[in-house]
Symmetry: C2
Subunit: 168 residues, 2 copies
DNA sequence: TAGAATTAGTTACGCGCATAATATTATGTG
DNA sequence: CACATAATATTATGCGCGTAACTAATTCTA
């Protein structure tokens, strides 16, 4: 691949990161949230209470980041932490009523943001987008499939969309 | 759009940002660079010397960020700043020889990263990728010309709200 | 031409996320 | 059982990028 195309891709990913995050920030601000916190609320809303290590895995960020995120969300009353009965090292994180209510607002805003993001793209592209982005993420992910330079030829995601996403 | 799909898109963008940046960080570390600095070097390598305001525009980040980036890259000897002759407020930023040499290394690494990122994707998708990502970026970009399509039927932010309406 | 408005750059501060080091608890093994 | 190892969570620290407030220089305008 020549530099022009490589740069077009890398730069586009970089700019999309900055702008998508900035847009999320301005939409989250009225709810009293900073970008990153919404992902934690949505994860708890989706899969229920879990310990911080599971949150770290689900959100794709490191345990110290989860410590800070949970601390702030607990301070603002949207989540609660209680010791895990089976493991005294772990603490279970769960939504409060306020947090569940806030998660609902975040979900609505999340749809607005996604629609805004893909405005003007062909429907087929929009349908494939999650699969494409997820495949790209897996390609550069060193967290779970540690391949620093040895790119294994078998870990690709089918480009034709994710499985059973044909709802409604 | 239903929440499932919206979340798939937003979450995928978020995760791709984290992972792509992290991968870039590990590849840039041997060169003594932190992610973000490579974009500045590449921009100067592409379009030659320019003032910081132009860098801010080209990189898509705010002037204070450029101040910090240029200060650190100047400290490590890869760029140089000199006063602009025609405008005594501005300072012209340019690559040093060391910076030009480093930019060459960054360009080669940039290609490796891009190829790694799109591994396994169909060639057609790879060819369309820059356009898709750029379109998405423009859709959520509030820095310049907020929405290129103009048609946004009451998407965001309650109309009567006092929500931080940014200068336009 | 004097004063207002704009622009370039900086400083101060906050947040998210990362790594490194540490304390505490679980779990494997001799 | 004792002890080495792994796992959970935390603190400390650093970087990138953001906003707000500020200085200094330029440009518009009455």
């Amino acid at each position: 691949m020549d530099f022009e195309h490589a740069d077009a891709i890398n730069q586009a990913v970089r700019l999309l990161s900055l702008r998508h995050r900035a847009r999320a920030a301005t939409m989250l601000a009225p709810l009293g949230l900073h970008p990153g916190q919404e992902a934690l609320l949505l994860e708890l809303d989706r899969n229920g209470a879990m310990i911080q290590a599971q949150l770290s895995e689900a959100l794709g960020c490191e345990p110290p980041s989860v410590t800070l995120m949970t601390r702030k969300l607990e301070a603002s009353g949207h989540i609660r932490r209680r010791p895990a009965p089976s493991d005294r090292r772990a603490s279970i994180v769960e939504l409060t009523d306020s947090g569940r209510e806030l998660a609902g607002q975040v979900k609505r805003m999340w749809c607005v943001l996604a629609e805004e993001t893909v405005t003007g793209l062909p429907a087929g592209t929009v349908a494939e987008l999650p699969g494409i982005l997820t495949a790209m993420t897996a390609n550069v992910d060193t967290r779970r499939s540690g391949d620093p330079h040895g790119r294994r030829p078998g870990l690709v995601a089918e480009p034709g969309g994710t499985t059973t996403d044909r709802a409604r």
